[in-house]
Symmetry: C2
Subunit: 117 residues, 2 copies
DNA sequence: GAGCCATATTCCTTCGCAGGCATATAGAAG
DNA sequence: CTTCTATATGCCTGCGAAGGAATATGGCTC
């Protein structure tokens, strides 16, 4: 995995938001939709993009696809994800997403791991 | 300056190399050419790209244009440049560039600050 | 002034990606 | 098997950026 490829993944706002809300833990597509408030196609495509480059991993959970950050990220990826989190800390948009995530958390908890209704 | 814009600057190999060799100190275009061994147009254009987005600053020095990292980088930029340096530390290509820079350093020293012949 | 140097800019072509719409898939439920 | 739900994929359009060739600029030097 080339360093440039990591940056190519990071140079889109939607993807940054996806990775940001993914930091606390796994999520499925419908969560992303609800948190980012973006159309399903958009989210799905960007997740596919990230997946193809190893920035996220997927696992099917019945009807739901549960995405998460890689279990064993490369040193470069780990460094950059940490850097992103650092930057996100002072970013209103990213913070709003995280706030929404927190708000929805109890709702998710009722369901399966990373699960939906 | 949006965080995404920083990543847009970082998602090209040539620009990464430019920023990498710029970390130790200011350089002029002919140095970049000699270190990266890339055509002048290519280097000049990428420097213009970085300049337009505030990732580098320029100052004319007679016939030469001396580029350097911004004097007062934003928190986000500073964080990301540090991250880049961290990643570059284990990257053969980046290390080779730095090695070339070191080799040329005495030659530069004879001339003006960041200077050429 | 003329000519030279280092660097920037313009014009062109090619390419990949974002975004949207429509449609396909895969599994669950009846 | 049919239907529903969640998600993915194909096709299209538009845009922006990379790279190269040629040319322009701006400042020296004589």
């Amino acid at each position: 995995m080339e360093l440039v490829q990591i940056y190519e993944c990071l140079c889109d706002r939607t993807r940054l938001r996806l990775l940001n809300v993914l930091a606390p833990g796994p999520l499925c597509v419908c969560h992303f939709q609800e948190i980012l408030r973006e159309p399903q196609v958009k989210i799905s495509k960007h997740l596919a993009y990230l997946r193809a480059r190893g920035l996220v991993e997927v696992e099917r959970e019945g009807n739901w696809m549960v995405y998460e950050l890689p279990a064993k990220p490369s040193r470069e990826l780990k460094t950059n994800l940490a850097c992103l989190q650092d930057c996100a800390r002072e970013n209103p948009l990213f913070q709003r997403d995280l706030a929404r995530l927190k708000k929805l958390a109890p709702k998710f908890a009722e369901a399966s791991p990373g699960g939906c209704t």
